[in-house]
Symmetry: C2
Subunit: 332 residues, 2 copies
Amino acid sequence: MNGKRGPSMHDVAARAGVSHQTVSRVLNDFPGIRPETRDKVLAAIEELGYRRNLAARALVTGRSHTIGMIGPEIPDIGPLSTLHAVERAARDAGLHTMMTSADPSTAHVRDALEFIVGRGVDAVVLVAQEHTVLEALDGVEVGVPVIRLLTGGEPVGEAASIDQRAGARLAVEHLIGLGHTRIQHLAGPLTFIEAQLRRDEFRDLIAQARLPELEILEGDWTTDSGFAAGASIDPRATAVFSANDDMAFGLIHALVAAGRSVPDELSVVGFDDTKTSRHSLPPLTTVRQDFEAVGRRAVELVVAHMAGELPRETGFIVPTLVERSSTAAPRA
Amino acid sequence: MNGKRGPSMHDVAARAGVSHQTVSRVLNDFPGIRPETRDKVLAAIEELGYRRNLAARALVTGRSHTIGMIGPEIPDIGPLSTLHAVERAARDAGLHTMMTSADPSTAHVRDALEFIVGRGVDAVVLVAQEHTVLEALDGVEVGVPVIRLLTGGEPVGEAASIDQRAGARLAVEHLIGLGHTRIQHLAGPLTFIEAQLRRDEFRDLIAQARLPELEILEGDWTTDSGFAAGASIDPRATAVFSANDDMAFGLIHALVAAGRSVPDELSVVGFDDTKTSRHSLPPLTTVRQDFEAVGRRAVELVVAHMAGELPRETGFIVPTLVERSSTAAPRA
DNA sequence: AGACTGGCTGTGACCGGTCACAGTGACGCG
DNA sequence: CGCGTCACTGTGACCGGTCACAGCCAGTCT
């Protein structure tokens, strides 16, 4: 028991009058320890305030029981909620999380990966919303499983994503069902796979319904960009499908400021169901994404990997439509 | 170089034809190594794809270069932004972060502390918005510095906070300056120190200006609770100071739904400057909190601690007022 | 009685780094 | 020429756990 470093297993062993190995066995719940021995050890641990050194443990076992998370530098609500869900799910599974961030450039993601793997994690969970992030994984062997999050496009065992096309379908079919025929799309930045998928589905649906194709606008997810897009809305449009809630808010602001009313003159549907959308003016009709489920799924995959199971088809997480007051039937 | 575990320092040493110690020296930038030796080592590292085992390093040095973060179970924008800022600042300082969450009960926070300290972090950063969280620290000696975040009330070396009273003052004085005399306050949950401080400052200012004291409402930070509070707004009030933006949104929704107009009949000022407040209807006048600065400050404190410096008076981080369109002079 | 089993516990090597302490050879100087 | 100095490199112990492998001491079986 040398000064600063706190008691070690040997100190506990000495105090309890057993060997260090017995202490180890007690700590790891090995069967076949006499209850009275176990109690002695437990008492010694308590008295000394012993805390196991996980660095030593990790060194010899080669596993750290930690999952590394890599998220975007400036996180949106999606990644943020998801990563937090991962953290909670991991804790429930007896795992820890460690977090680092990287901007989406391939080089940076690769650095972050190097960094977090070097830190000795057992698995990596990577928010991969953009192709550049995915590319960072190409040809890189890090020795631990890497689970991709929120790519939107892979219902496979190595990724946990929400079905973006299904979400877009929900939004657009809602609009079409209301009777809208001239629908415009305000897309997210198309470097995002999710933005691409929502746009693709929008296009397909419009074509399929043989509706006129209005120009597709592109924002950057921010309320400001939605506001800016307000100036480019097609005068013929009666409805807009915004690729996220924030842009929808900005758009509505611009529209109302220009004297147009929502939903009377123009319907707007968002995507995300952020907590403000419930009480925005007007309350926003939007597509709800269950980020919590994504986080849990990711941890399930990690656990399966650690148990040596093969990745399997896990299926998408399915979004739902939340109807509120920003959409209505077009005026006759 | 045994199968699964990847190459070790000895493997690199063998490959480069030097001793493991020389490899260590190269890795740690020790002076006095012949450039040609260094190059050989670097080359060997590259060829072998060597990655230093940080568990081993942590074991012998007793430091992990990691800071542990404890945040709330369901994080608001403040904690979330702050923790993310900590993460970035830490990375810039060559430190890593590890995150766990805990609900605010004293017992849970204590568990989380135990957990993260046992994980071998060099310092802990704890989001302590409620008294119960702070109490978890009483009489607990964990052996590493614990920095408190967002308590709102301590401009000292062990904490990084935003001056809540100054923020509230900004909001209330703005309203008074506009000519309002009957101002109501929608407080946050009073278990939050920040909510208490905003309320206290509000009260003091109202008393100081000898204005009528209207009932103080209490919400739970959510838009829903703000909406609910709409029913309890005093009919005499011409302005409301909401303790955060989200509740302000809910409140405005309720007000407008009840036929009252903002800001013509009633001014509303929020707190936080969330990204939607810029384009809500009407755009929200609010108090901006620089969470990024809090995160940076926290890491500065950690670094100072690790360098053995004494905690010193660091001062508050000062919020600012963002004037938008939800406030106006009262109608004559 | 002797061998065997099984429950429980102890011994020592080892994980992969860092630290403290020695070397080693080249060079300068008296 | 001998010695000290300096620049550079090597040696072995050690951090605190876990693992593989004994040991030990009942009780049971033949």
